[in-house]
């Protein structure tokens, strides 16, 4: 016994190319939608993960642009201002502080880097306090430095790959012409540490003649500490910029908001195009089957039957398109991730686009809802066909 659903399905298969093109249109819209929703979901958790991996809740830098400070906190930076190292003792004096680690970022021009040379950044760290804060860092080879002033370096995973170094190799510090030995290569951590070359802070200060200077101080406070209050206290120190996790999140969210609006607008346009595409396909199909629909009505089909029949076709098209688009967005998640990264001012290191089954179902639901709305007009148009109009269009005789 034929069912309305079966008739709708067979009709979609009747004009295969047109149905496929419509489904592709819907699938592309779904891809944009799923990616957008996945981005909204993924960006925040990825950002939180990055900030949690910093190992400290507050970063102290020399007074300057807060955006630069935020970038420094997450990505490292160049052209930095210095603070006196004595600030570490001042910070440590506060009983609410659990751990303090000084850092010195130093960037130099390396003429041997690439074809035309390039900037290499080194991070001077305290071999005692830094590893305690960054407990997630694990070694692929070797270990941290032997002594606080050793001429040694630890390479992040990507830095080691880029410089093609492993434990035991030597490395010539650019500009200073000092040779250091690689004593450790870190495992991939998915953070900015992957691209960093670590040196003991004392060594870096001595080699590049910035004794007694630091670029930042990472501070870990007790869990019971009110961070906002503590920040206010830190601002009493002369010429410092205090960057807290919350500030960083807020700063980055503000920067990304514009990009989000842009992506959402693109998604909206894509959805509208798909909606018009669906409406056009179904309407064409109705006009082509004008007589068939009229004959169905002469056989006893009610207005509601014809409305349902055409609606089923719309729902089927959007469902298939939605499923294809969701699968496509899952397969292309990495490419989408790269695409989104290219337009964002700052991207966290872990996956930006996080797609799961709930998200895919939600997107299919949204697309189907849009399809249902698009199908109303063609269905209404079909439902209003009178048998006599359809028959008379070829059979008519006065």
């Amino acid at each position: 016994m034929p069912s309305l659903f079966g008739i709708a399905w067979k009709n979609i298969r009747r004009k295969r190319l047109r149905s496929i093109l419509t489904i592709i249109g819907i699938a592309l819209s779904t891809w944009v939608l799923v990616s957008l929703l996945g981005f909204n979901q993924g960006y925040e958790s990825s950002l939180n993960k990055d900030i949690d991996n910093l190992g400290f809740q507050v970063l102290l830098t020399a007074k300057g642009c807060p955006y630069e400070a935020a970038t420094l906190m997450l990505k490292g930076g160049t052209g930095l201002k210095y603070m006196p190292e004595s600030i570490v003792d001042t910070v440590k004096a506060n009983p609410e502080v659990e751990e303090v680690t000084p850092m010195l970022m130093h960037a130099v021009f390396d003429p041997n880097k690439g074809e035309e040379g390039g900037i290499t950044a080194f991070l001077g760290i305290d071999p005692v306090t830094y590893p305690r804060m960054k407990t997630y860092l694990q070694f692929q080879q070797g270990k941290w430095f032997n002594q606080p002033q050793a001429l040694e370096a630890v390479f992040g995973y990507e830095a080691a790959e880029l410089e093609q170094r492993e434990v035991g190799d030597s490395y010539l510090l650019p500009e200073a012409d000092v040779e250091i030995k690689v004593v450790g290569v870190l495992k991939r951590s998915g953070t900015q540490d992957d691209g960093t070359i670590f040196l003991p802070i004392r060594t870096l200060q001595k080699v590049y003649k910035v004794n007694g200077q630091v670029t930042s101080v990472g501070i870990k406070v007790n869990k019971s500490t009110d961070i906002a209050k503590y920040e206010e206290e830190l601002y009493k120190l002369p010429d410092v910029q205090v960057v807290s996790m919350a500030q960083v999140k807020q700063t980055i969210s503000n920067l990304v908001a514009t990009a989000r609006v842009m992506v959402m607008s693109i998604a909206l346009i894509a959805i509208l195009i798909a909606m018009v595409g669906v409406m056009n396909t179904v309407l064409m199909s109705v006009l082509e089957r004008w007589q068939e629909i009229g004959i169905m009505k002469s056989m006893g089909a009610m207005t509601s039957h014809i409305f349902k029949l055409i609606w089923f076709e719309t729902i089927l098209l959007t469902f298939v398109g939605g499923v294809v688009g969701s699968v496509m967005s899952w397969i292309l998640a990495t490419a989408t991730d790269k695409l989104i990264r290219s337009v964002l001012p700052y991207s966290p290191t872990s996956a930006l686009v996080q797609i799961d089954i709930i998200l895919a179902l939600k997107a299919i639901g949204i697309i189907m809802f849009i399809g249902i709305i698009s199908g109303i007009y063609p269905a209404w148009k079909a439902a209003r066909i009178r048998p006599i109009e359809a028959i008379r269009s070829t059979e008519g005789e006065l």
Binding site: I7, K10, I391, T394, L398
Partner: protein, 229 residues
Amino acid sequence: MSQPTAPLISIKDLHKTYVRGSEHIHAVDGITLDIQEKEYIAFVGPSGSGKTTLLHLLGCLDNPTSGELKVAERTVYSEKAAMNERDLTKLRRELYGYVFQKFYLIPTLTVEENILLPFAFYCKPDAHKNAQHLADLLGISHRLNHLPKELSGGEMQRVAIARALINKPQILLADEPTGNLDSKRSAEISDIFSKLNQEEGLTIILVTHNPAMAKSAGRMVELRDGKLV
């Protein structure tokens, strides 16, 4: 003494007028006619005489401009009242089967699905059994799983007839059912109609240009300029 039975279809002073610009075309011009149950009636006449329009009115596919139309003692149209679309649909389901010159089979459905198509919209018991019976009767039982494009013209018209009869209607309306067929196939369809009328007691209302088929009807009515001749 038995009471005379009421006609199955009764029309009184029925008019259907089309307006084209300033011109009024009287397609059906004051026809009064009764059609009895189990009657086989053929409308003949030249093109433009109004026979197809009359058939559409009798089949409740179109509304008259004026006059009165009663089917199975139910008033479909009168000066005072007209059936709404929903009731007309129900009436068509219960009483009518339609066969047209063009077969109007759904190309994506098999022969069996085309025959059973009306039951996509409502249910009746023994649908499959009845479909098989009709397929046997019309000689298309070996074609049930084929698509319409795989059939000859004559076979397609038989499928259309089977589809028209699947709901066990009282009245079969046929508009030029042999118009697209050669003389051999036309004769076969004509035989089928006679058989359906005589053996199944089906009321048949036919519009045809085919003199042989018209002659097989119990009553032949000629129309000219929208009037009975």
